[in-house]
Symmetry: D3
């Protein structure tokens, strides 16, 4: 079993509700789970550890409280930090370079979810604004609830979203008219639209049901060969960004090693014998 | 206010129905808004000017009359022009080079819509064939009506569509089975399919309602920071065509300059004070 | 008329139900059309021949029997072949190279469908597992029935799908949350989901109706200019994998030759005269 | 014969020293051929016209006077224009967008040389600083003289070269250590280094000899099939930027049209008969 | 030892002058080794077999006779085949498609050299025109002699070289001014230029010495771990066409399997013990 | 002045021989500067710090002692670590994943040199094997001496080089025949070849002279605008890996921010006044 003590980070609860399943909860409900800088650094630390933890095969990401997955960036905190005009150099070019470094650092924290070797299922409930989109688009599977309120909020604070939403949306959702509509207008939309246009794949009646179903799916995935699951996530991500010819070639190289696993024989045998296979740790 | 006199071009009406919102109307209703060469040249001239016009922050594109957004290329006119077999050199290679130049020129006119720095919302009503698809796919947001009749018409006149439809469709719509189906069969389809499969994001009961809603969305977008809106369009377009890693890097470089805007402070302050921010011109 | 005798291959029936339309039927119904190595080699041989056959302009791909399009790889046969741990070299690197060669060979057989110059319409009915996905994603247009049962089955046998599913899914379907969900869980899903999320473009009540409609669509496509149809398939495939700018440039080069066809004049004339054009063979 | 009157532009001399050969001379010798904004606009206009002029098959680009091909940007003029801090908006983001537009416009003028369908041979003599590199790297063939003094001068005026040098150098020269050395140090180097490391392909003793040899090469190229020459330039440029597989595919599409030329038969026949082929105009 | 009888193909001699080294000789000296269609088909068959032959670890490619590596395409034979204007369909588009298929087929034959898993060292002597360039650029290592006469001959017969030269040259040679110069002028050049600008890496005094040295190098490479050699060729080819980040990632996936080889331990031990390692077959 | 105390890491000496110039010396001369795991971790830590240190504008990388820049990986140490067959899981797939993680970690350490915002000049002297190539290819400018002995040593220990050499060589050196020759044979070569084929840009008579000249060049670069220098490195690296069109676009976005620097005015003024400009810190 993974050791919860290894995952103590401020503003996050990490638990292990089932074998090989981790549950990461954003925990700042009194502020609608709004993000301060320390939070994205902690998020990154958690997902980097989960990525290599042999006791973890699937991850659930949720937000604490009833009201919000996250209301996004804690603008008040941000306005006192790097983005404040009073800090830093006066030369525009030097200021630009400082911002570039800062954005990269922030992006890398969110990308830690995408780079996590284990699949990540996110449950979006209640207010899910701004950074909620950046984060959920770095996850593999997106669930929501009947009362989720989404918004690509950034244009309302005068910026083009820069932590991943605008780069990942057109690679995650098929209807690009809708992608532009929500990104340019910042309007709030619900799970019906999110499902219709393909931002989420499941909508549940409330947070409890959604989290329960996410855990079930997590358990299901965790019951599979971790070698097969790792490869499936990796090859889809690689292929999404490249030509089909490149994707096929990569798959062949990848599986040249991975087909040599004992899991394949165990899985086939279990299939024939109608037993549940047990796979060794990754 | 933008100066309508600057936008006088045959077969087009350009008006400014609200502050910072331009309305471009294709105006050849007696021919179902079918396109002759002069029309695509004029279209390009209009969008190049809108792109840099500081008084414009959002654009609506519609077709005049009740019957058609556009019936497509004016085949009769085209058959007397470049595409006619009687014109040009007899050598196949030289003819090929002439055609290549001609296609490039035509493509660039349509691409002027995509390159326009300001978001473009198109309303497709009635007959929307051939060039209607090429054009609407270069726009950012697509609305249609209950009576819109779409067709990727080109295979019916013996050609593979060459002004953008075949290149932009697979990057605009998620269901590639449907993309191939409509492109290979040239069959007419309606707004129900267009919405279901993701070609449009909104369907309204008739042209009037659709145009009204497009104008409302245009006004909403025009009320945002023009710096944020410009970046949102540009970064989505860049990212759509590239890997997520490249998209993130581009976003960081872009925002290194653009986060230095006064708009951000004004937008945040307005958010807190519940006032409407006023942004200076781009 | 194409010569059926040229297409005799074990486990396949190839017929020509209408002018210029070929029907390829996977024919191993007693084993749910499960694939052995000889079958994918034969599949490839058939599609390579169809690609250049001047008497073929559209292809339908179906599975024989009521129960399955295909249950996927014949695992029993496979376990006695290349993938068996007892065969081949003991050195892991040499084994990896052998697997790489083997996967390439298998992938190329399936890719023969994608490379076929003529559009391929697939009808998925009944059990459609594993290799069913690999194959149908290499086809151009996907139809299914009310009772089709789909599954990306590979993780259940301990492998990341390696014959194309993971590379083609994210380029065929817009909802990437759903793509990951089905690929990571191996769960069975039906045509409702397949249609909703964009894996198929049409669902019919049963196999008979679906095959009839596929044939009708095949006939419709076969009635068009084969030059225009060839170009439409090729340009969409090229553009899908590349930037829009690259897609446009390719289109221009392609059409520089292809617009010099007599088909264009014949098609236009037929349009004016309300007659059915006859196009010469490709 | 091309009509010199069509090519009258301030600061340039355009002549036609041999059949099908154009000679473009930068003509501001009293200022070491330093470039003002009007000059790059004129340069672009000239090369766009040469690109489609049927009487032109090869182009020579040189600088007037003994002292310089060009000393680069006329910094004095530039400092009074767009780049001046006193002009334009005070908001950094708006200023950035203005600069972006301005750089694009300037880049496109230089890229007109690369996009010219006819090969361009440049002769670099004397001072060849800054913009001299941007321009010569957009040309196809580079000659220089024993006294040419090169410098990637931009870091000395506080900027990263932005009109093409930094993008084209690593695709034109094999030794990337040397590329970085000259770009980061701005040091002056001579033709010996330029030849050794691959920036030029020929060094002549003085400007006269170099121009004479460039003209001879221009005449030689102009004596070839213009279809073959056009394709050779285009395919090399396309392939340089892409994978070899993509390059091969593009070549096949290109030549599908271009091999249908009469030139091939004429060239082969002339080869056999030892006569000089005459090719019709492009 | 590889079985020479497996490699009997008209116009080629295949021998095995040393353990694990194959020598392929183009054998039509009475026609300066000019290529007819059957020859490139045979060339492809030979290299496909060498690629998987466990008794081969390095390949030498040479031309028989004193006068020529190859004078290129046998134009006389070609003019009676596919390229002849009298054959094939009269419609330009259909003719274009036929040419496209034909060029692909020819390209694939030459690409078989590049795809061969074993390194290929080519010795260019005497006349090395046209196809000589296409072929040698698909090889890994290029040697020549003091009397080699190179020419990218295609523009002289009215075509842009289409079997690989124009796609591979800019990825093989650093000096792009020289690349364009030789490709656009078709002028003959010698080994001094070929070495100076980077087309070959070694020049020997005559064919005998060059072949001897190629064999020595072949023997040296064949003495290394075939796993390491295979990976080195493959990773360089992959990386050449892609970003460095993609190259690094591919390397990691590749070596994840390949570092598990016994060869590594054997090689290290031999290094320490100063013995010659023996590696098992690939 | 940078604080040397911040840069204390075992096996490295970091000093600041001139204003804004850092000197990193690999310091394990008694083992020919062979690398153990702790060394590449320390190297990475040093270059990450240098990247953002406002007191550093150029970096020199050298090896301590007379005999070697580095003899490469400390094979003895490595054979007791991760690469040892006795460690880690017995399942080939799990072992592969462990190796993949390990290679990524090692690659990222070396890539820290490439990602360092400041230019890095490397001096290769004496034995420069294996990892010496990986490292120097991640540097910007390469100098060597008359007695440097280079070798891409990896095939001699049974592996394809995996820390960057095979990915970076074809993007750093123009002569690909030579690239393959040295990578496949592992033969030792000297500075004459390294200069001729473009691996280094300068060869000096001995280490002392080479280091002195590297320091001079470092001082020269450090005297330029740090904004201009940063952009020059970044844009060349970006453009090297992408199409020229993408490179130009990136340059425009980059300079939209960076041209707003005070450095440009200061540099121009200094140019006119013949004074030495002083630029503020980055």
């Amino acid at each position: 079993m993974a050791n919860a003590a290894d995952y103590k980070h401020e503003f996050f609860n990490v638990s292990f509700p089932a074998e090989y399943v981790a549950h990461v909860e954003i925990n700042r409900p009194e502020k609608m789970n709004a993000f301060k800088e320390i939070m994205w650094l902690n998020l990154s630390a958690i997902f980097k550890k989960l990525s290599h933890d042999p006791n973890v095969r699937a991850v659930i990401l949720t937000g604490a409280g009833d009201r919000a997955f996250t209301a996004g960036l804690d603008v008040q905190a941000a306005s006192q930090g790097q983005l404040s005009s009073n800090s830093g150099p006066s030369d525009s070019a030097r200021k630009a370079n400082g911002l570039r470094r800062h954005i990269f650092e922030f992006q890398e924290c969110i990308t830690a979810i995408e780079k996590c070797e284990k699949p990540v299922i996110v449950v979006l409930h209640g207010i899910s604004y701004g950074l909620a989109l950046d984060m959920c688009l770095a996850c593999d599977i997106r669930f929501s609830t009947n009362t989720t309120a989404f918004s690509v909020k950034e244009v309302d604070i005068g910026i083009a979203a820069d932590i991943g939403t605008l780069s990942r949306l057109p690679h995650s959702v098929g209807n690009h008219s809708w992608v532009k509509e929500i990104a340019l207008s910042a309007r709030v939309f619900g799970s019906d639209e999110a499902l219709q246009h393909g931002l989420v794949s499941r909508v549940y009646k409330d947070k409890k049901e959604a989290v329960d179903e996410a855990l079930k799916l997590g358990e299901l995935i965790a019951s599979k060969s971790p070698v097969a699951v790792l490869g499936t996530k990796e090859i889809i991500n690689y292929s999404r960004d490249r030509t089909i010819a490149d994707g096929l070639n990569y798959t062949a190289i990848w599986n040249a090693a991975m087909l040599q696993t004992q899991d394949m024989k165990d899985a086939m045998l279990s299939g024939i014998q109608k037993t549940t296979p047990k796979f060794s740790k990754l």
